[in-house]
Protein backbone atom coordinates (compact mmCIF):
# COMPACT_ATOMS: atom_id res chain seq x y z
CA UNK A 1 0.00 0.00 0.00
CA UNK A 2 1.30 3.42 -0.74
CA UNK A 3 -0.03 6.94 -0.74
CA UNK A 4 -0.64 6.91 -4.50
CA UNK A 5 -3.36 4.27 -4.10
CA UNK A 6 -5.07 6.40 -1.46
CA UNK A 7 -4.93 9.45 -3.71
CA UNK A 8 -6.29 7.39 -6.61
CA UNK A 9 -9.20 6.06 -4.53
CA UNK A 10 -9.98 9.57 -3.24
CA UNK A 11 -9.90 11.09 -6.70
CA UNK A 12 -11.96 8.22 -8.09
CA UNK A 13 -14.71 8.79 -5.54
CA UNK A 14 -14.66 12.55 -6.11
CA UNK A 15 -14.80 12.10 -9.90
CA UNK A 16 -17.59 9.53 -9.57
CA UNK A 17 -19.68 12.07 -7.68
CA UNK A 18 -18.97 14.85 -10.18
CA UNK A 19 -21.85 14.10 -12.64
CA UNK A 20 -24.30 14.53 -9.75
CA UNK A 21 -23.25 18.13 -9.10
CA UNK A 22 -25.71 20.59 -10.64
CA UNK A 23 -23.29 22.43 -12.91
CA UNK A 24 -21.40 19.40 -14.25
CA UNK A 25 -19.86 19.67 -17.72
CA UNK A 26 -20.02 16.00 -18.64
CA UNK A 27 -18.34 16.19 -22.05
CA UNK A 28 -15.42 18.22 -20.67
CA UNK A 29 -15.14 15.61 -17.92
CA UNK A 30 -15.02 12.81 -20.49
CA UNK A 31 -12.30 14.65 -22.44
CA UNK A 32 -10.19 15.16 -19.32
CA UNK A 33 -10.54 11.50 -18.35
CA UNK A 34 -9.78 10.15 -21.83
CA UNK A 35 -6.75 12.41 -22.15
CA UNK A 36 -5.64 11.32 -18.69
CA UNK A 37 -5.86 7.70 -19.80
CA UNK A 38 -4.05 8.22 -23.11
CA UNK A 39 -1.39 10.39 -21.52
CA UNK A 40 -0.83 7.89 -18.71
CA UNK A 41 -0.52 5.10 -21.29
CA UNK A 42 1.88 7.21 -23.37
CA UNK A 43 3.87 7.89 -20.23
CA UNK A 44 4.69 4.18 -19.84
CA UNK A 45 6.66 4.33 -23.07
CA UNK A 46 7.52 8.02 -23.33
CA UNK A 47 8.15 8.77 -19.67
CA UNK A 48 9.17 5.55 -17.94
CA UNK A 49 11.02 3.98 -20.86
CA UNK A 50 12.11 7.37 -22.25
CA UNK A 51 11.07 6.67 -25.85
CA UNK A 52 9.48 9.80 -27.30
CA UNK A 53 6.61 8.58 -29.47
CA UNK A 54 4.83 11.02 -31.76
CA UNK A 55 2.53 8.39 -33.22
CA UNK A 56 0.19 7.36 -30.42
CA UNK A 57 -2.87 8.69 -32.23
CA UNK A 58 -2.55 5.55 -34.37
CA UNK A 59 -3.51 3.44 -31.36
CA UNK A 60 -6.43 5.70 -30.47
CA UNK A 61 -7.55 5.46 -34.08
CA UNK A 62 -7.17 1.68 -34.04
CA UNK A 63 -9.44 1.34 -31.00
CA UNK A 64 -12.03 3.79 -32.33
CA UNK A 65 -12.12 2.20 -35.78
CA UNK A 66 -12.50 -1.32 -34.41
CA UNK A 67 -15.49 -0.29 -32.33
CA UNK A 68 -17.06 1.67 -35.19
CA UNK A 69 -16.54 -0.92 -37.91
CA UNK A 70 -17.33 -3.78 -35.53
CA UNK A 71 -20.73 -2.33 -34.76
CA UNK A 72 -21.63 -0.89 -38.17
CA UNK A 73 -20.50 -3.77 -40.39
CA UNK A 74 -20.30 -6.92 -38.27
CA UNK A 75 -22.79 -6.18 -35.50
CA UNK A 76 -20.04 -6.91 -33.00
CA UNK A 77 -20.56 -5.63 -29.45
CA UNK A 78 -18.13 -2.84 -28.54
CA UNK A 79 -16.48 -4.74 -25.69
CA UNK A 80 -15.46 -7.57 -28.06
CA UNK A 81 -14.28 -5.04 -30.66
CA UNK A 82 -12.18 -3.29 -28.04
CA UNK A 83 -10.60 -6.55 -26.91
CA UNK A 84 -9.81 -7.35 -30.52
CA UNK A 85 -8.40 -3.83 -31.00
CA UNK A 86 -6.17 -4.27 -27.96
CA UNK A 87 -4.86 -7.54 -29.35
CA UNK A 88 -4.14 -5.94 -32.71
CA UNK A 89 -2.56 -2.97 -30.93
CA UNK A 90 -0.26 -5.35 -29.06
CA UNK A 91 0.84 -7.01 -32.30
CA UNK A 92 1.22 -3.62 -33.99
CA UNK A 93 3.33 -2.27 -31.12
CA UNK A 94 5.46 -5.41 -31.18
CA UNK A 95 6.22 -5.11 -34.90
CA UNK A 96 6.58 -1.31 -34.72
CA UNK A 97 8.94 -1.57 -31.75
CA UNK A 98 10.99 -4.40 -33.28
CA UNK A 99 11.53 -2.26 -36.35
CA UNK A 100 12.37 1.02 -34.63
CA UNK A 101 13.90 0.39 -31.21
CA UNK A 102 17.32 0.12 -32.80
CA UNK A 103 17.05 3.87 -33.33
CA UNK A 104 17.81 6.37 -30.64
CA UNK A 105 16.74 9.88 -29.69
CA UNK A 106 15.37 12.01 -32.51
CA UNK A 107 15.54 9.13 -34.98
CA UNK A 108 13.03 7.10 -32.98
CA UNK A 109 10.65 10.06 -32.73
CA UNK A 110 10.93 10.62 -36.49
CA UNK A 111 10.21 6.97 -37.24
CA UNK A 112 7.03 7.07 -35.14
CA UNK A 113 5.83 10.09 -37.11
CA UNK A 114 6.53 8.31 -40.40
CA UNK A 115 4.67 5.14 -39.37
CA UNK A 116 1.72 7.07 -37.96
CA UNK A 117 1.47 9.16 -41.14
CA UNK A 118 1.51 6.04 -43.32
CA UNK A 119 -1.28 4.53 -41.18
CA UNK A 120 -3.24 7.79 -41.56
CA UNK A 121 -2.91 7.70 -45.34
CA UNK A 122 -4.07 4.07 -45.33
CA UNK A 123 -7.12 4.96 -43.20
CA UNK A 124 -8.01 7.78 -45.60
CA UNK A 125 -7.45 5.92 -48.84
CA UNK A 126 -8.53 2.36 -48.16
CA UNK A 127 -12.27 2.94 -48.20
CA UNK A 128 -13.17 -0.78 -48.20
CA UNK A 129 -11.45 -1.11 -44.83
CA UNK A 130 -12.24 2.11 -43.05
CA UNK A 131 -15.05 3.90 -44.85
CA UNK A 132 -12.46 6.21 -46.40
CA UNK A 133 -12.05 9.94 -45.93
CA UNK A 134 -15.69 10.53 -45.03
CA UNK A 135 -15.45 8.41 -41.90
CA UNK A 136 -17.65 5.84 -40.12
CA UNK A 137 -20.84 6.25 -38.13
CA UNK A 138 -21.86 4.22 -35.12
CA UNK A 139 -25.67 4.14 -35.28
CA UNK A 140 -26.62 1.23 -33.03
CA UNK A 141 -25.04 -0.13 -29.89
CA UNK A 142 -26.24 -3.00 -27.70
CA UNK A 143 -27.69 -2.20 -24.29
CA UNK A 144 -26.03 -4.48 -21.74
CA UNK A 145 -28.36 -4.79 -18.72
CA UNK A 146 -30.38 -1.85 -19.97
CA UNK A 147 -27.41 0.57 -19.93
CA UNK A 148 -27.53 3.05 -22.79
CA UNK A 149 -23.97 3.39 -24.14
CA UNK A 150 -24.90 6.55 -26.07
CA UNK A 151 -25.71 8.26 -22.78
CA UNK A 152 -23.01 10.79 -21.88
CA UNK A 153 -23.09 9.91 -18.19
CA UNK A 154 -22.45 6.24 -18.99
CA UNK A 155 -19.55 7.27 -21.20
CA UNK A 156 -18.24 9.45 -18.40
CA UNK A 157 -18.08 6.48 -16.03
CA UNK A 158 -16.47 4.30 -18.70
CA UNK A 159 -13.81 6.98 -19.20
CA UNK A 160 -13.37 7.28 -15.44
CA UNK A 161 -12.79 3.55 -15.04
CA UNK A 162 -10.37 3.65 -17.98
CA UNK A 163 -8.36 6.57 -16.57
CA UNK A 164 -8.24 4.97 -13.13
CA UNK A 165 -7.12 1.66 -14.65
CA UNK A 166 -4.18 3.25 -16.48
CA UNK A 167 -3.08 5.09 -13.33
CA UNK A 168 -3.46 1.91 -11.26
CA UNK A 169 -1.29 0.03 -13.77
CA UNK A 170 1.34 2.78 -13.51
CA UNK A 171 1.28 2.68 -9.70
CA UNK A 172 1.61 -1.10 -9.77
CA UNK A 173 4.53 -0.97 -12.20
CA UNK A 174 6.27 1.75 -10.20
CA UNK A 175 6.63 -0.62 -7.25
CA UNK A 176 7.72 -3.63 -9.32
CA UNK A 177 11.01 -4.74 -10.76
CA UNK A 178 9.69 -3.81 -14.21
CA UNK A 179 9.37 -0.17 -13.14
CA UNK A 180 13.01 -0.06 -12.07
CA UNK A 181 14.07 -1.78 -15.27
CA UNK A 182 12.22 0.85 -17.28
CA UNK A 183 13.95 3.68 -15.43
CA UNK A 184 17.32 1.96 -15.80
CA UNK A 185 16.87 1.68 -19.57
CA UNK A 186 15.75 5.29 -19.80
CA UNK A 187 18.60 6.71 -17.75
CA UNK A 188 21.45 4.72 -19.21
CA UNK A 189 21.05 1.90 -21.67
CA UNK A 190 24.64 0.69 -21.47
CA UNK A 191 24.56 0.56 -17.68
CA UNK A 192 21.23 -1.27 -17.81
CA UNK A 193 22.73 -3.83 -20.16
CA UNK A 194 25.70 -4.23 -17.87
CA UNK A 195 23.23 -4.99 -15.08
CA UNK A 196 21.76 -7.82 -17.13
CA UNK A 197 18.72 -6.00 -18.52
CA UNK A 198 17.85 -6.41 -22.18
CA UNK A 199 16.80 -2.86 -23.15
CA UNK A 200 14.95 -3.87 -26.30
CA UNK A 201 12.79 -6.39 -24.44
CA UNK A 202 11.96 -3.83 -21.73
CA UNK A 203 11.09 -1.18 -24.30
CA UNK A 204 8.97 -3.66 -26.25
CA UNK A 205 7.02 -4.60 -23.13
CA UNK A 206 6.42 -0.93 -22.37
CA UNK A 207 5.35 -0.23 -25.94
CA UNK A 208 2.94 -3.20 -26.08
CA UNK A 209 1.34 -2.25 -22.76
CA UNK A 210 1.18 1.42 -23.75
CA UNK A 211 -0.33 0.62 -27.15
CA UNK A 212 -2.95 -1.73 -25.71
CA UNK A 213 -4.08 0.76 -23.07
CA UNK A 214 -4.19 3.58 -25.62
CA UNK A 215 -6.34 1.44 -27.94
CA UNK A 216 -8.71 0.70 -25.05
CA UNK A 217 -9.21 4.43 -24.55
CA UNK A 218 -9.59 4.77 -28.32
CA UNK A 219 -12.51 2.36 -28.19
CA UNK A 220 -14.29 4.45 -25.57
CA UNK A 221 -13.50 7.54 -27.63
CA UNK A 222 -15.13 5.88 -30.65
CA UNK A 223 -18.34 5.33 -28.68
CA UNK A 224 -18.12 8.91 -27.35
CA UNK A 225 -17.69 10.48 -30.80
CA UNK A 226 -19.95 7.93 -32.56
CA UNK A 227 -18.58 9.42 -35.79
CA UNK A 228 -14.97 8.80 -36.70
CA UNK A 229 -13.03 10.78 -39.27
CA UNK A 230 -9.53 9.63 -40.24
CA UNK A 231 -8.25 13.21 -40.68
CA UNK A 232 -8.95 13.98 -37.07
CA UNK A 233 -8.27 10.76 -35.23
CA UNK A 234 -5.02 9.89 -37.02
CA UNK A 235 -3.78 13.48 -37.07
CA UNK A 236 -0.14 14.09 -36.23
CA UNK A 237 -1.22 16.97 -34.01
CA UNK A 238 -3.33 14.59 -31.95
CA UNK A 239 -0.24 12.48 -31.27
CA UNK A 240 1.66 15.64 -30.42
CA UNK A 241 -1.15 16.64 -28.05
CA UNK A 242 -0.92 13.33 -26.15
CA UNK A 243 2.86 13.56 -25.87
CA UNK A 244 2.88 17.21 -24.78
CA UNK A 245 0.20 16.56 -22.15
CA UNK A 246 2.63 14.24 -20.41
CA UNK A 247 5.71 16.39 -20.90
CA UNK A 248 3.94 19.46 -19.51
CA UNK A 249 2.52 17.46 -16.61
CA UNK A 250 5.73 15.58 -15.86
CA UNK A 251 7.32 12.64 -17.68
CA UNK A 252 7.94 9.46 -15.73
CA UNK A 253 5.73 10.53 -12.84
CA UNK A 254 2.46 8.91 -11.77
CA UNK A 255 0.27 12.01 -11.63
CA UNK A 256 1.93 14.17 -14.30
CA UNK A 257 -0.26 12.94 -17.17
CA UNK A 258 -3.47 13.47 -15.17
CA UNK A 259 -2.42 16.98 -14.10
CA UNK A 260 -1.39 17.80 -17.67
CA UNK A 261 -4.68 16.50 -19.07
CA UNK A 262 -6.81 18.43 -16.57
CA UNK A 263 -4.83 21.64 -17.11
CA UNK A 264 -4.77 21.47 -20.90
CA UNK A 265 -8.30 20.26 -21.56
CA UNK A 266 -9.91 22.68 -19.11
CA UNK A 267 -7.88 25.70 -20.20
CA UNK A 268 -8.57 24.64 -23.80
CA UNK A 269 -12.28 24.87 -22.98
CA UNK A 270 -11.88 28.28 -21.34
CA UNK A 271 -10.00 29.71 -24.32
CA UNK A 272 -12.16 27.93 -26.90
CA UNK A 273 -13.93 31.10 -27.98
CA UNK A 274 -10.78 33.26 -27.89
CA UNK A 275 -8.57 31.02 -29.99
CA UNK A 276 -11.18 29.01 -31.92
CA UNK A 277 -9.21 26.60 -34.14
CA UNK A 278 -5.89 27.88 -32.86
CA UNK A 279 -6.28 25.98 -29.59
CA UNK A 280 -2.92 24.24 -29.99
CA UNK A 281 -1.31 27.63 -29.32
CA UNK A 282 -1.76 26.83 -25.65
CA UNK A 283 0.24 23.61 -25.95
CA UNK A 284 2.98 25.46 -27.80
CA UNK A 285 3.28 28.22 -25.23
CA UNK A 286 3.08 25.85 -22.26
CA UNK A 287 5.67 23.45 -23.61
CA UNK A 288 8.07 26.36 -24.13
CA UNK A 289 7.43 27.57 -20.58
CA UNK A 290 7.96 24.07 -19.20
CA UNK A 291 11.17 23.56 -21.15
CA UNK A 292 12.62 26.91 -20.16
CA UNK A 293 11.44 27.06 -16.54
CA UNK A 294 10.27 23.61 -15.35
CA UNK A 295 12.23 20.98 -17.27
CA UNK A 296 10.82 18.11 -15.21
CA UNK A 297 7.20 19.07 -15.91
CA UNK A 298 4.73 20.40 -13.35
CA UNK A 299 4.46 17.30 -11.16
CA UNK A 300 8.09 16.29 -11.66
CA UNK A 301 9.30 19.72 -10.59
CA UNK A 302 7.00 19.73 -7.58
CA UNK A 303 8.20 16.30 -6.43
CA UNK A 304 11.80 17.34 -7.01
CA UNK A 305 11.47 20.45 -4.86
CA UNK A 306 9.64 18.49 -2.18
CA UNK A 307 12.48 15.98 -1.97
CA UNK A 308 15.11 18.72 -1.85
CA UNK A 309 13.24 20.45 0.95
CA UNK A 310 12.84 17.22 2.91
CA UNK A 311 16.52 16.36 2.78
CA UNK A 312 17.58 19.94 3.39
CA UNK A 313 15.67 19.85 6.67
CA UNK A 314 17.17 16.53 7.63
CA UNK A 315 20.74 17.55 7.04
Amino acid sequence: MNKHILILVGLFVAAALYPMTPAAFITVGISVLLFTGWATSWNLLGGWAGQLSLGHASFVGLGAYFVAIGSSQFGLAPWWSVLLAMLVAAVMALIWGKLTFGLRGPYFALSTIAIAEILRLIAINEGWLTGGASGVFIDTLPEPMGIDLFDKTTQYYLALIYAALTIAVTIYISTRKFGYELKAVRDNEEAAMAAGINPTVIKLKAFVLSGMLTALGGGIYGVFLSFIEPHIIFNLLFSVQIALTVIIGGRGTIWGPAVGAALLVISGEIFRTTFAQANMLLYGVLILVVILALPRGLVGEYAHRLIRKKYANRA
Partner: protein, 293 residues
Amino acid sequence: MDYVSFFQNLSNGVLIGAVYAMIGVGLTLVFGVMRTINFAHGDFVVIGMYFAVVFNSVFGWDPYLTLIFAIPLGFIVGALIQKVLLARVIDAKPETMMLATLGLSLVIANLLLLIFGGEPKSVQVSYAASTISLGEIRISVVLLFAGLATLAMISALYWLLNRTEVGRAIKATAENRLGAELVGINTKKIQAIVFGLGMALAVTAGVSLIPLLFASPVTTGALFTLKAFVVTVLGGLGNIGAAIVGGLILGVVEVLGASYLDSAYRDAYGLLVFLAVLLVKPEGLFGKTVKRV
Protein backbone atom coordinates in the same frame (compact mmCIF):
# COMPACT_ATOMS: atom_id res chain seq x y z
CA MET B 1 6.42 3.14 -71.90
CA ASP B 2 5.77 6.68 -72.98
CA TYR B 3 9.12 8.44 -72.92
CA VAL B 4 7.84 11.97 -73.40
CA SER B 5 5.59 11.81 -70.36
CA PHE B 6 8.33 10.03 -68.41
CA PHE B 7 10.82 12.83 -69.06
CA GLN B 8 8.09 15.38 -68.45
CA ASN B 9 7.52 13.84 -65.01
CA LEU B 10 11.23 13.55 -64.40
CA SER B 11 11.82 17.25 -65.11
CA ASN B 12 8.92 18.24 -62.85
CA GLY B 13 10.28 15.94 -60.15
CA VAL B 14 13.78 17.37 -60.39
CA LEU B 15 12.55 20.96 -60.21
CA ILE B 16 10.23 20.39 -57.26
CA GLY B 17 12.98 18.26 -55.72
CA ALA B 18 15.35 21.22 -55.99
CA VAL B 19 13.04 23.22 -53.74
CA TYR B 20 12.81 20.30 -51.30
CA ALA B 21 16.59 20.25 -51.36
CA MET B 22 16.74 23.91 -50.37
CA ILE B 23 14.42 23.20 -47.44
CA GLY B 24 16.40 20.12 -46.46
CA VAL B 25 19.75 21.92 -46.65
CA GLY B 26 18.50 24.45 -44.10
CA LEU B 27 17.44 21.69 -41.73
CA THR B 28 20.63 19.73 -42.13
CA LEU B 29 22.79 22.84 -41.68
CA VAL B 30 21.05 23.52 -38.37
CA PHE B 31 21.41 19.89 -37.32
CA GLY B 32 25.11 20.08 -38.12
CA VAL B 33 25.93 22.79 -35.62
CA MET B 34 23.11 22.37 -33.07
CA ARG B 35 22.61 18.59 -33.11
CA THR B 36 18.87 19.01 -33.06
CA ILE B 37 16.04 18.44 -35.49
CA ASN B 38 14.08 21.61 -36.06
CA PHE B 39 10.35 20.84 -35.98
CA ALA B 40 9.52 24.44 -36.89
CA HIS B 41 11.36 24.27 -40.21
CA GLY B 42 8.19 23.67 -42.22
CA ASP B 43 6.55 26.58 -40.44
CA PHE B 44 9.43 28.79 -41.57
CA VAL B 45 8.55 27.77 -45.12
CA VAL B 46 4.94 28.80 -44.45
CA ILE B 47 6.11 32.13 -43.03
CA GLY B 48 7.80 32.75 -46.38
CA MET B 49 4.58 31.89 -48.19
CA TYR B 50 2.50 34.30 -46.10
CA PHE B 51 5.17 36.98 -46.50
CA ALA B 52 4.72 36.77 -50.26
CA VAL B 53 0.92 36.66 -49.89
CA VAL B 54 0.88 39.84 -47.78
CA PHE B 55 3.24 41.75 -50.08
CA ASN B 56 1.25 40.64 -53.06
CA SER B 57 -2.15 41.60 -51.70
CA VAL B 58 -1.06 44.91 -50.14
CA PHE B 59 1.49 46.24 -52.66
CA GLY B 60 0.77 43.96 -55.60
CA TRP B 61 4.37 42.75 -55.66
CA ASP B 62 5.46 39.73 -57.61
CA PRO B 63 6.38 36.98 -55.11
CA TYR B 64 9.92 36.68 -56.45
CA LEU B 65 10.47 40.41 -55.92
CA THR B 66 9.64 40.03 -52.21
CA LEU B 67 12.73 37.82 -51.84
CA ILE B 68 14.77 41.05 -51.54
CA PHE B 69 13.17 41.53 -48.12
CA ALA B 70 12.25 37.97 -47.27
CA ILE B 71 15.80 36.60 -47.26
CA PRO B 72 17.40 39.17 -44.90
CA LEU B 73 14.31 39.23 -42.68
CA GLY B 74 14.28 35.45 -42.48
CA PHE B 75 17.92 35.50 -41.49
CA ILE B 76 17.39 38.10 -38.75
CA VAL B 77 14.28 36.45 -37.31
CA GLY B 78 15.96 33.03 -37.34
CA ALA B 79 19.04 34.36 -35.57
CA LEU B 80 16.81 36.06 -32.99
CA ILE B 81 14.82 32.87 -32.35
CA GLN B 82 18.08 31.04 -31.71
CA LYS B 83 19.43 33.76 -29.42
CA VAL B 84 16.26 34.31 -27.42
CA LEU B 85 14.91 30.77 -27.19
CA LEU B 86 17.13 27.92 -28.29
CA ALA B 87 20.41 29.22 -26.86
CA ARG B 88 18.92 28.67 -23.42
CA VAL B 89 18.55 24.93 -23.92
CA ILE B 90 21.63 24.32 -26.04
CA ASP B 91 23.35 22.30 -23.32
CA ALA B 92 20.31 20.24 -22.37
CA LYS B 93 19.58 16.83 -23.87
CA PRO B 94 19.05 16.95 -27.67
CA GLU B 95 15.47 15.86 -27.09
CA THR B 96 14.77 18.97 -25.00
CA MET B 97 15.75 21.26 -27.84
CA MET B 98 13.70 19.17 -30.24
CA LEU B 99 10.67 19.69 -27.99
CA ALA B 100 11.43 23.42 -27.85
CA THR B 101 11.30 23.58 -31.65
CA LEU B 102 8.07 21.56 -31.57
CA GLY B 103 6.58 24.17 -29.22
CA LEU B 104 7.88 26.91 -31.51
CA SER B 105 6.21 25.20 -34.44
CA LEU B 106 2.86 25.08 -32.65
CA VAL B 107 3.15 28.75 -31.66
CA ILE B 108 4.04 29.91 -35.19
CA ALA B 109 1.37 27.81 -36.91
CA ASN B 110 -1.40 28.87 -34.54
CA LEU B 111 -0.40 32.53 -34.57
CA LEU B 112 -0.58 32.46 -38.37
CA LEU B 113 -3.99 30.81 -38.00
CA LEU B 114 -5.16 33.56 -35.66
CA ILE B 115 -3.88 36.32 -37.95
CA PHE B 116 -4.82 34.98 -41.38
CA GLY B 117 -7.60 32.50 -40.62
CA GLY B 118 -7.78 28.91 -41.76
CA GLU B 119 -8.69 29.64 -45.35
CA PRO B 120 -5.89 28.54 -47.72
CA LYS B 121 -4.13 31.46 -49.41
CA SER B 122 -2.11 31.75 -52.57
CA VAL B 123 -0.68 34.31 -54.98
CA GLN B 124 -2.00 34.58 -58.52
CA VAL B 125 0.69 35.39 -61.05
CA SER B 126 0.08 36.01 -64.73
CA TYR B 127 2.72 33.43 -65.72
CA ALA B 128 1.32 30.68 -63.46
CA ALA B 129 0.29 28.50 -66.40
CA SER B 130 3.11 29.54 -68.78
CA THR B 131 5.52 26.90 -69.94
CA ILE B 132 8.76 26.78 -71.88
CA SER B 133 8.99 24.04 -74.48
CA LEU B 134 12.13 21.96 -74.57
CA GLY B 135 11.49 19.65 -77.49
CA GLU B 136 8.31 17.89 -76.52
CA ILE B 137 8.81 18.47 -72.81
CA ARG B 138 7.17 21.51 -71.31
CA ILE B 139 8.68 23.13 -68.28
CA SER B 140 6.53 25.30 -66.03
CA VAL B 141 7.94 28.81 -65.68
CA VAL B 142 7.10 28.92 -61.98
CA LEU B 143 8.88 25.63 -61.32
CA LEU B 144 11.84 26.88 -63.35
CA PHE B 145 11.99 30.05 -61.25
CA ALA B 146 11.80 27.96 -58.09
CA GLY B 147 14.61 25.75 -59.36
CA LEU B 148 16.72 28.80 -60.25
CA ALA B 149 16.11 30.35 -56.82
CA THR B 150 17.37 27.11 -55.27
CA LEU B 151 20.42 27.08 -57.51
CA ALA B 152 21.23 30.66 -56.56
CA MET B 153 20.75 30.11 -52.82
CA ILE B 154 22.74 26.90 -52.74
CA SER B 155 25.57 28.42 -54.78
CA ALA B 156 25.65 31.37 -52.38
CA LEU B 157 25.72 28.96 -49.45
CA TYR B 158 28.52 26.98 -51.07
CA TRP B 159 30.51 30.15 -51.50
CA LEU B 160 29.82 31.20 -47.91
CA LEU B 161 30.82 27.86 -46.42
CA ASN B 162 33.95 27.32 -48.47
CA ARG B 163 35.30 30.75 -49.27
CA THR B 164 34.68 32.85 -46.16
CA GLU B 165 35.96 32.93 -42.62
CA VAL B 166 32.41 32.58 -41.22
CA GLY B 167 31.86 29.52 -43.38
CA ARG B 168 35.01 27.87 -42.10
CA ALA B 169 33.90 28.66 -38.56
CA ILE B 170 30.51 27.05 -39.27
CA LYS B 171 32.15 23.92 -40.62
CA ALA B 172 34.50 23.79 -37.66
CA THR B 173 31.58 24.12 -35.22
CA ALA B 174 29.69 21.36 -36.99
CA GLU B 175 32.69 19.07 -36.84
CA ASN B 176 33.58 19.63 -33.22
CA ARG B 177 31.98 22.32 -31.10
CA LEU B 178 34.43 22.14 -28.22
CA GLY B 179 37.39 22.11 -30.58
CA ALA B 180 36.01 25.12 -32.40
CA GLU B 181 35.62 26.98 -29.12
CA LEU B 182 39.20 26.11 -28.19
CA VAL B 183 40.55 27.77 -31.31
CA GLY B 184 38.61 30.93 -30.52
CA ILE B 185 35.40 30.55 -32.47
CA ASN B 186 32.34 32.07 -30.83
CA THR B 187 30.10 29.05 -31.33
CA LYS B 188 27.05 30.78 -29.84
CA LYS B 189 27.29 33.38 -32.58
CA ILE B 190 27.85 30.69 -35.21
CA GLN B 191 24.75 28.85 -34.04
CA ALA B 192 22.67 32.01 -34.33
CA ILE B 193 24.06 32.65 -37.81
CA VAL B 194 23.34 29.09 -38.91
CA PHE B 195 19.79 29.13 -37.55
CA GLY B 196 19.30 32.41 -39.42
CA LEU B 197 20.66 30.84 -42.62
CA GLY B 198 18.35 27.87 -42.16
CA MET B 199 15.36 30.12 -41.80
CA ALA B 200 16.41 32.27 -44.78
CA LEU B 201 16.60 29.13 -46.93
CA ALA B 202 13.19 27.93 -45.73
CA VAL B 203 11.61 31.33 -46.33
CA THR B 204 13.06 31.46 -49.85
CA ALA B 205 11.58 28.04 -50.57
CA GLY B 206 8.19 29.21 -49.30
CA VAL B 207 8.23 32.33 -51.47
CA SER B 208 9.30 30.31 -54.51
CA LEU B 209 6.54 27.76 -54.05
CA ILE B 210 3.61 30.04 -53.30
CA PRO B 211 2.50 30.60 -56.94
CA LEU B 212 2.21 26.81 -57.23
CA LEU B 213 0.22 25.87 -54.17
CA PHE B 214 -2.05 27.09 -51.42
CA ALA B 215 -0.70 27.81 -47.96
CA SER B 216 -2.76 27.07 -44.88
CA PRO B 217 -1.22 27.76 -41.49
CA VAL B 218 -1.18 24.39 -39.73
CA THR B 219 -1.25 21.64 -42.34
CA THR B 220 1.22 23.11 -44.82
CA GLY B 221 3.85 23.61 -42.12
CA ALA B 222 3.60 20.04 -40.87
CA LEU B 223 3.74 18.75 -44.44
CA PHE B 224 6.97 20.60 -45.20
CA THR B 225 8.53 19.71 -41.87
CA LEU B 226 7.95 16.06 -42.73
CA LYS B 227 9.35 16.54 -46.22
CA ALA B 228 12.42 18.21 -44.76
CA PHE B 229 12.92 15.25 -42.40
CA VAL B 230 12.62 12.84 -45.29
CA VAL B 231 15.11 14.78 -47.41
CA THR B 232 17.73 15.05 -44.71
CA VAL B 233 17.46 11.54 -43.34
CA LEU B 234 17.65 10.13 -46.88
CA GLY B 235 21.08 11.58 -47.33
CA GLY B 236 22.25 11.53 -43.73
CA LEU B 237 21.67 14.29 -41.20
CA GLY B 238 24.25 17.04 -41.17
CA ASN B 239 25.52 16.41 -44.72
CA ILE B 240 24.68 19.25 -47.14
CA GLY B 241 25.55 17.53 -50.39
CA ALA B 242 23.50 14.54 -49.33
CA ALA B 243 20.50 16.75 -48.51
CA ILE B 244 20.59 18.12 -52.08
CA VAL B 245 20.57 14.61 -53.52
CA GLY B 246 17.89 13.62 -50.98
CA GLY B 247 15.69 16.51 -52.11
CA LEU B 248 16.02 15.54 -55.76
CA ILE B 249 15.27 11.89 -54.93
CA LEU B 250 12.15 12.86 -52.95
CA GLY B 251 10.89 15.14 -55.74
CA VAL B 252 11.35 12.46 -58.40
CA VAL B 253 9.94 9.63 -56.23
CA GLU B 254 6.85 11.70 -55.41
CA VAL B 255 6.11 12.74 -58.97
CA LEU B 256 6.82 9.32 -60.49
CA GLY B 257 4.95 7.53 -57.69
CA ALA B 258 1.96 9.81 -58.11
CA SER B 259 1.78 9.33 -61.87
CA TYR B 260 2.65 5.62 -62.21
CA LEU B 261 1.28 4.24 -58.94
CA ASP B 262 -1.60 5.57 -56.86
CA SER B 263 -1.67 9.38 -56.67
CA ALA B 264 -3.63 9.29 -53.39
CA TYR B 265 -0.48 7.99 -51.74
CA ARG B 266 1.74 10.78 -53.09
CA ASP B 267 2.93 11.75 -49.61
CA ALA B 268 3.34 8.14 -48.52
CA TYR B 269 6.04 7.25 -51.08
CA GLY B 270 8.48 9.67 -49.57
CA LEU B 271 7.66 8.43 -46.06
CA LEU B 272 8.13 4.79 -47.08
CA VAL B 273 11.54 5.51 -48.59
CA PHE B 274 12.35 7.53 -45.47
CA LEU B 275 11.35 4.70 -43.15
CA ALA B 276 13.27 2.16 -45.21
CA VAL B 277 16.44 4.28 -45.06
CA LEU B 278 15.94 4.93 -41.36
CA LEU B 279 15.61 1.24 -40.58
CA VAL B 280 18.24 -0.17 -42.92
CA LYS B 281 20.87 2.56 -42.91
CA PRO B 282 20.05 5.21 -40.28
CA GLU B 283 23.22 7.13 -41.01
CA GLY B 284 21.72 7.96 -44.41
CA LEU B 285 22.43 6.79 -47.95
CA PHE B 286 25.71 8.70 -48.06
CA GLY B 287 26.63 8.47 -44.39
CA LYS B 288 30.15 7.29 -43.75
CA THR B 289 30.16 6.61 -40.04
CA VAL B 290 28.55 3.26 -39.36
CA LYS B 291 27.32 3.53 -35.81
CA ARG B 292 24.14 2.98 -33.89
CA VAL B 293 22.12 6.15 -33.70
